[in-house]
């Protein structure tokens, strides 16, 4: 491998390497399998080559953007965290991933993106603060809508049922799912013995946001904290694999890997955006002032005869 593959994902916060479960899955898997990745932590999905996050820029397969596809690709590149698993364990992996996707993911989406208070006070605020200037006005809203639609489509029945009922069912399912995971994990270090596998990457990345995010209304967290082995499991993975991440630390090294690119590229953009926004604001203010204040300006003018003419000219110039 000449150059490492490039991974674009959401930046981290709340003590996690990435705030997005999908990105987190890929990052965690890369850590587990030891895949050398050049990670770009971005806060603007438009900077990803596919327009979505996570995205993996590969040498031969173009850009991959679904976690399952990325993991399959990594596996093909011999970075396989499931190498030691038996066929039956492989089957279990599939089954439990399905369980996560069907039962836990909808509630996760709901509690981050749909539940009113959480979305407004936590998720939207976070994304609005993180996403660079002009995009932060509409991207969070767009993501909210996409997630809402996704939830409706996954659950399928909400269009017919009362909201409260479906919501309750959503959380019941998710809590049951966490309980089942806790029972399956029992006292083990990882799901399949002492070394982490792809299932661990999935479970960790779905549970860690619940555990770390400070949602104002976190029913899932309440339930998760009543399952000590799962909490311990998440913390262990965080400390072992993401030890020097720190709070919202921008650096990540999936393997002691040289070519690290923290998001220094963000800086010029921020500066530029600030300048731009000030300029736009100024322009608007000046425009308004001139348009509405022409008369008063002209009254101080020297020549009364030309007053109207000049006023009109000025006006036109401004409007152009």
């Amino acid at each position: 491998m000449a150059a490492p593959m490039e991974l674009y994902c959401w930046k981290g916060d709340w003590g996690l390497p990435s705030v997005d479960p999908d990105c987190l899955t890929v990052l965690t898997y890369a850590k587990f399998s030891g895949a050398p990745l050049k990670v770009h932590k971005v806060t603007n999905p438009w900077r990803s080559p596919s327009g979505r996050l996570p995205a993996l820029k590969t040498h031969d397969d173009g850009v991959l953007f679904q976690p399952s596809k990325i993991i399959t690709h990594l596996r093909k590149q011999k970075y396989n965290a499931d190498y030691d698993l038996s066929a039956k364990q492989g089957a279990d992996t599939l089954a439990f991933i399905s369980l996560l996707e069907e039962k836990l993911l909808p509630a996760l989406i709901h509690s981050f993106w749909v539940e009113g208070k959480n979305y407004v006070e936590h998720t939207r605020r976070w994304y609005a603060e993180s996403i660079p200037f002009p995009l932060n006005f509409f991207l969070p809203n767009q993501m909210h809508k996409r997630n809402l639609e996704r939830l409706q489509l996954i659950r399928g029945d909400s269009w017919r049922e009362e909201d409260e009922d479906t919501e309750r069912q959503l959380y019941t399912d998710a809590q049951e799912c966490m309980s089942l995971l806790s029972q399956r994990l029992a006292k083990h270090k990882f799901f399949f013995g002492d070394s982490p596998a792809s299932l661990d990457a999935y479970v960790f990345s779905h549970l860690a946001p619940i555990l770390s995010a400070k949602l104002p209304n976190n029913k899932l967290q309440q339930h998760l904290s009543s399952l000590p082995n799962l909490c311990q499991y998440c913390r262990a993975i965080l400390t072992i694999y993401f030890a020097w991440e720190g709070d919202s630390g921008p650096r990540i090294t999936p393997k002691p890997q040289s070519g690290e690119t923290p998001d220094t590229e963000e800086e010029p953009h921020k500066r530029r955006n600030q300048v731009l926004s000030v300029l736009v604001g100024l322009l608007a203010m000046v425009g308004y002032a001139v348009l509405s204040g022409i008369v008063s300006i002209q009254r101080v003018g020297p020549d009364h005869a030309l007053e109207q003419g000049i006023a009109m000219e000025d006006n036109e110039e401004e409007e152009e």
């Binding site: 017919r160 049922e161 009362e162 009922d165």
Partner: protein, 468 residues
């Protein structure tokens, strides 16, 4: 219009402030008063009719409406005919305002007894819009309306209404075209989607449909022929809906032909003083496609008689029957319902007859009759003004709704309709709302209540367009 009322000799402006078109006509007569002495009893000829302010309206449309003016022989007639023409023009829904000026002819070819009639008209704008918001039981909605009057210059009209609600959206698009010179004969096409929620049946219905209808008068009757194709989607309103309602859920396509005949000699439709109404409606579904087949007949009869002291005795009778064709049972959306504050009073809305776990299923046959004595308010407060919008009434209602077994024959049917009659009596106050609806506040005593009926004993409030 304020000045008009002072001049009005009619103590009861029955058609209300917004229907004051005939009052306006008084103004018209002001103009020719100077000449009255000269021309009053002489024969006159209407030489020319001028129109001022015509834009896109086509001449042939106008010509038909004012043709009668030329036939007038004396001044009184000219004034009357012009007035009639003005009414006709306004009715077209093309002009915002029409003023009539009558003057003697001037110019070279002017006859000594020649008159010029000038209509000063203001056309409606090409596009008018309206916007309003409505808030109702747990639902808010925004209604946007667009109207294109006089679309092609011959009183065609296109209307579009769109309502965007928190729960439902609905829309309606309609095109209306009258025959030139005969406004009563017209044709219209509608395209719509409406959603209704019927809590008495725990039913939600969404209709998307197309309909085309022709209206035409024959002698004193007016007829409507209509074809309608509707895609109906029925569903339960709540999870707790009864299984009978659940079984009705799903999609159906109804294609029906219907004919309505109306004879209406009443002076006004909401609180009539005299005259009668007969309305007969028949609908045949399934013949032109779709998956619902039935024949539906229903009629409505109302007679009004004025008595002493400004009181009115009104009697009405309704009846209807639905015969499913083929082996499919009738759909809940097609059946009849009875009960409520403007039909059989004293019973809750549509809560008479067959039901399952508290959800009313409607019936295939019904009849209902009512007798009312309307009187002015006691001591007649606000007489000649606001108080005339109100009436007190004493009523006696009766009716029955049931399903018929069509193997039994008419004698058994009559027996079924005659047994278990629900009836009620009481008194209350009626408020007329414009010329389209009325509000009633009644004290009712329901009688002949059958098990399963939901009654509303005592005070009942309701609004309705159609009333028994």
């Amino acid at each position: 219009m304020g000045t008009v009322h002072a001049r009005s000799l009619d103590p009861l402006p029955m058609n209300g402030p917004d229907f004051g078109s005939h009052d306006d006509a008084d103004l018209v007569e002001v103009e020719p008063q100077k000449k009255q002495e000269i021309l009053e009893n002489k024969d006159v000829v209407v030489q020319r009719v001028h129109f001022e302010g015509l834009g896109r309206t086509k001449d042939d449309l106008i010509a038909h409406e004012i043709g009668q003016v030329f036939k007038a022989k004396n001044l009184i007639e000219v004034m009357r005919k012009s007035h009639e023409a003005r009414e006709k023009l306004l009715r077209l829904g093309v002009f915002r305002n029409v003023e009539v000026l009558i003057d003697t002819c001037e110019g070279e070819d002017a006859l000594p007894n020649g008159l010029d009639v000038t209509f000063e008209v203001t056309e409606l704008r090409r596009l008018t819009g309206s916007y309003n918001t409505m808030v109702g039981n747990n639902e808010g909605s925004m209604v946007l309306g667009l109207k294109l009057p006089n679309l092609f210059g011959r009183a065609e009209k296109m209307t579009f209404q769109f309502s965007y609600g928190t729960k439902e959206t609905s829309y309606g698009l309609s095109f209306f075209k009258p025959q030139v010179g005969n406004f009563e004969r017209n044709f219209s096409v509608n395209l719509y989607k409406v959603t209704g929620q019927f809590p008495w049946s725990s039913l939600r219905e969404t209709d998307r449909g197309v309909s085309a209808e022709i209206n035409f008068p024959i002698w004193k009757t007016s007829h409507t022929l209509k074809w309608e194709g509707v895609w109906r989607e029925l569903g339960c309103l709540a999870r707790t809906a009864s299984f009978a309602i659940r079984e009705e859920s799903g999609h159906t396509l109804k294609s029906s032909l219907s004919h309505t005949m109306v004879i209406d000699s009443r002076n006004t439709s909401i609180l009539p003083k005299r005259g009668a109404l007969l309305k007969i409606n028949q609908e045949l579904a399934g013949y032109t496609g779709g998956d619902v087949s039935f024949l539906k007949e229903d009629f409505e009869l109302q007679l009004n008689k004025q008595l002493a002291w400004d009181s009115v005795l009104s009697t009405s009778l309704w009846g209807g029957m639905l015969v499913p064709i083929g082996d499919k049972p009738s759909s809940i959306a097609d059946r009849f319902y009875l009960g409520g504050p403007t039909s059989v009073r004293g019973f809750s809305m549509y809560s008479i007859g067959p039901q399952s776990e508290g959800d009313y299923l409607g019936g295939e046959a019904y009849w209902a009759g009512g007798m009312h004595l309307y009187t002015p308010l006691p001591f007649r407060p606000g007489r000649g003004g606001f108080g005339d919008l109100f009436r007190t009434h004493f009523f006696l209602n009766a009716g029955n709704l049931c399903n018929l077994n069509y193997g039994e024959g008419p004698r058994a049917h009559l027996r079924r309709l005659a047994e278990c009659i629900r009836w009620s009596y009481g008194a209350g106050i009626v408020l007329r709302l414009g010329n389209i609806a009325r509000l009633e506040l009644n004290y009712c005593i329901p009688m002949g209540v059958q098990s399963g009926d939901r009654i509303c004993d005592g005070v009942q409030f309701g609004a309705g367009i159609r009333f028994l």
